[in-house]
Amino acid sequence: MTLALQTRDLARSFDIGRRLIGPPRARLHAVRPISIQVQQGETLGIVGESGCGKSTLARMLVGLVAPSAGSIEIEGRLLDRADPAAFGRLIQYVFQDPVSSLNPRKTIRQILAAPLRHLRGLRGRELDARIAELFAAVSLRSDFLSRYPHEFSGGQAQRIGIARALAASPRILVLDEPVSALDVSVQAQVLNLLADLKAKLGLTYLFISHDLAVVEAVSDRIAVLYFGALVESGPAHKVFATPRHPYTKLLALSAPVVGRPLGGAQSGELPDPLNPPPGCAFAGRCPHATEICRREMPALRAIEGDQHAACHHPLAP
């Protein structure tokens, strides 16, 4: 197997309260150094709650946000400048909110033509043919092409978003909560379409979601983020069957499931990102926290085989 994507200590911090001159008032570490590897043809599921750095990570991977440190390699090529045009031919992004990711004042044809023109240099008949092909691939009727975004339902708009992402024939798609804005009956339509496209085009996916059940259904491997850091990673079946990090377990227990009584609720909130605790960021909510947890940040290490966790006291299987 070959590597589709690899990051080395990829990190990003934001300056808060920037001043005209002089250093900023504070620095927020949105993504702490993360190293991941994704094999060709694989789906890596990335889970975590809002504010844990999922979207910042995703936006670095497609070149929309420049990393503060670390490197990104796609199919062996080092992409060291945040240049969406350079990334765009290799890796593309599908947005969470399908409607707001389409310019309300452009027709669907104009929206789809942009990447074909600017990234692939297509013109005239070639361009039209490719647009028709893309539209067929996401099963939409070609008479939709001359309409405007507001005329579409969420599910249809997300198909358009997927068609746009595929236009430049990228090798990798970063799917940032692609179905969270959709109703369940439509959600599955889009997920199945994504699975078909992946098989047909030999794509690699990074699938970001807060919904564990959805991530489990589509992923080969899982990465769990908490407070900007990777806290657990491994094969999907292992991570869900035997979570090793207490946070992963809490996530799994919190998802409301038919027939399971209310529970798994734990008090506590995320730490203040401007004033992070010195040790494990989860210590304030963790039932297993000890003194070392509050003092030392645990490093990500192999627990068993290819399952990794960043915890001083990993859970027993």
Partner: protein, 620 residues
């Protein structure tokens, strides 16, 4: 464009402004070919002729010049200068604003500080200072007026641009390989232009006035050239003896400024996206009711909805958002209302207390009885007294009920004093206790926080505290946990469940999540296309759904522990409620559908388990 003109002329005042301004502009344009005296031809023998004199309709001024002619030429000049100043200020301000908003960071910081400094000067002083430096003259007055107006445009446009730049479609354009110039031109600008037009149309009147002001002071147009301001200025000395020389240009200024402003307001309203989507300019206090008769009460209960019908009328279309919904809520009971977006859950909930916006919403039938008393069509005062006191709402976005500029403790205290005769201190103490009840750590300190200082989960707790403020009997919660993370959702659900048990609250819980329903609700009603299609005790219904829609919707929900797999979907889309098919609304997507399903109304049948289907999956 057609829509724009329609909206514009629906507003009578704007139409009037447009007509008046149109006439003035046409006359001003035609001035050179109209049979007028030369404007600067003096004739001291005929000084101060009154209006309607022979050959001089509006009379003459202190040098015997024809006022009519001077008025027309002056109007022409004033209009031209005003428009030019507006155009210049608008374009320069927009350019600054778009660039600052788009690039942000240092560029933004530096330019906006400069703009702030300019804005700190009193307006007219700044204009005077500019003219003092440049010297008097019409061109310089134009420049001065334009310059003092640039900050206004720059500020406005910068805000709008910054908002657009953070929209996802701009990121999408970047990923499509577009450069900054192209994105500015084809993605940002088309979305900013309406704002520029609005800003110009609402300020142009003032700019004409300001130019006239400078000319009046002798700093604008120089004699003998006439503009409206200089005409007024020259007439000043003869204000008492020959008032018409002042009144004529004064009236024209009034007409121009008034018509421009009326038209400008109309343009602003017509371009306002909220009005375009049919939202009301002035919403009514409660939902409009057009109901023939109230149906008989079928069952008794704390809150009882009987065949409630709510519609939205937009143009010629009628959206039947709620189409005969009956529901019963007993004390201490939690009833779930579940369905996909657009199925009518929220409108049902808002109809209960007449909170649906009218226009376009209208309650066209049914009854909502609280302790047997019908609330549909009840006077506003009564509904207001009941809102919060007996029936309280919790919404998905707690910010919609919290004021951003007041501390949460004060807002809670105000909610309490609105319904109860308690003092300020007592209300504050209760507010803190409420925050404690909803498990907000360190409630006394948090009471002094502003809404934006809290996390999403904390804010929703405050929303719940707000709802609990007056000890209501019923809480209607519309997707209160949809925007929250799962771990926070679990906390909020546990809190609601405990509050209901400890206080005997009845809860109508709206959600699209079967997991949440199963954990919280005693009974559940499933909505599709504005109707309840199935209802029953939660455990029974979830274990053996009878309606094909319910069964297939449940099958779509992925559950943790299933491993990697293909998920079930329901092909097709939910029906559009302005075009419901006759018979079963689910028929186009239903595998069991037969001709009979499409023929006519299908009743919600059954006693405890109810189902609206001719060929149900199970016989309940």
């Amino acid at each position: 464009m057609r829509l724009f003109l329609q909206l514009l002329f629906r507003n009578r005042l704007a139409g009037f402004g447009a007509v008046v301004l149109g006439v003035i502009v046409v006359l001003a344009v035609l001035t050179p070919i109209l049979p007028l005296h030369p404007p600067n031809e003096t004739n001291t023998a005929n000084r101060f002729l009154r209006p309607l004199s022979e050959g001089h309709w509006l009379g003459t001024d202190h040098l015997g010049r024809d006022l009519m002619s001077r008025l027309m030429w002056g109007t022409r000049l004033s209009l031209a200068v005003g428009f030019a100043a507006a155009l210049f200020a608008g374009l320069a301000g927009a350019a600054i604003g778009v660039l600052a908003g788009y690039f942000g960071g240092r560029i933004d910081n530096v330019t906006m500080r400069g703009i702030d400094m300019l804005m700190a000067f009193p307006y007219i002083l700044l204009a005077l200072a500019i003219v003092a430096v440049l010297g008097p003259g019409l061109m310089n007055a134009l420049i001065a007026v334009a310059v003092v107006n640039i900050p206004f445009f720059a500020r406005n446009i910068r805000g709008v641009t910054a908002g657009i730049v953070h929209r996802e479609f701009v990121d999408a354009a970047r990923l499509s390989g577009m450069g900054n110039a192209r994105i500015l031109w084809s993605e940002v600008l088309p979305n900013v232009v309406p704002v520029i037009v609005i800003a110009m149309s609402t300020t142009i009147g003032w700019m004409i006035l300001e130019t006239a002001g400078l000319s009046f002071l002798g700093l604008g147009s120089q004699p003998p050239q006439a503009d409206l301001g200089s005409m007024l200025g020259e007439a000043r000395s003869a204000l008492i003896t020959a008032p018409h020389t002042s009144i004529v240009p004064g009236a024209m200024i009034l007409l121009i400024v008034m018509s421009v402003n009326l038209l400008g307001d109309g343009v602003r309203d017509a371009l306002d996206p909220r009005l375009r989507s049919g939202a009301p300019s002035r919403p009514e206090a409660t939902t409009r009711v057009e109901r023939a008769t109230a149906p008989e009460a079928t069952e008794s209960g704390l809150l009882r909805l009987d065949r409630l019908e709510t519609q939205f009328r937009i143009g010629k279309r009628v959206y039947r958002a709620v189409n005969g919904v009956s529901l019963n809520l007993s004390p201490g009971e939690c009833v779930g209302l579940i369905g996909e977006s657009g199925s009518g859950k929220s409108v049902t909930a808002l109809s209960v207390m007449g909170l649906v916006a009218s226009p376009p919403g209208v309650i066209t039938g049914g009854a909502v009885r609280l302790d047997g008393q019908d609330l549909i069509g009840a006077p506003y005062e009564m509904l207001r007294a009941l809102r919060g006191r007996r029936v309280a709402y919790i919404f998905q976005d707690p910010l919609s009920t919290l004021h951003p500029l007041y501390r949460i403790g004060d807002q809670l205290a105000e909610a309490i004093t609105a319904h109860q005769p308690v003092g300020r201190a007592a209300a504050r103490a209760r507010a803190v206790r409420l925050l404690e009840d909803v498990r907000i750590p360190n409630p006394a300190a948090r009471a002094r926080a502003f809404p934006h200082e809290l996390s999403g989960g904390m804010r929703q707790r405050v929303g719940i505290a707000m709802a609990l403020a007056n000890d209501p009997d019923i809480i209607i919660a519309d997707e209160p946990t949809t925007a929250l993370d799962v771990t926070v959702q679990a906390q909020v659900l546990a809190l609601l469940d405990e509050l209901r048990r400890s206080r005997g609250l009845a809860i109508l819980f709206i959600t699209h999540d079967f997991g949440v329903v199963s954990q919280l609700c005693d009974r559940v009603a499933v909505m599709y296309g504005g109707r309840v299609v199935e209802e029953g005790p939660t455990t029974d219904l979830l274990a053996a759904p009878a309606h094909p829609y319910t069964r297939r919707l449940i099958a779509c929900v992925p559950e943790l522990g299933g491993g990697r797999r293909r998920l079930a979907a329901i092909p097709g889309l939910p029906p559009a409620v302005d075009d419901l098919p006759p018979g079963c609304a689910f028929a186009p997507r239903c595998e069991r559908a037969q001709d009979a399903c499409r023929a006519g109304e299908i009743a919600l049948a059954g006693k405890v388990r109810k189902v609206r289907c001719l060929f149900p999956e199970t016989t309940p």
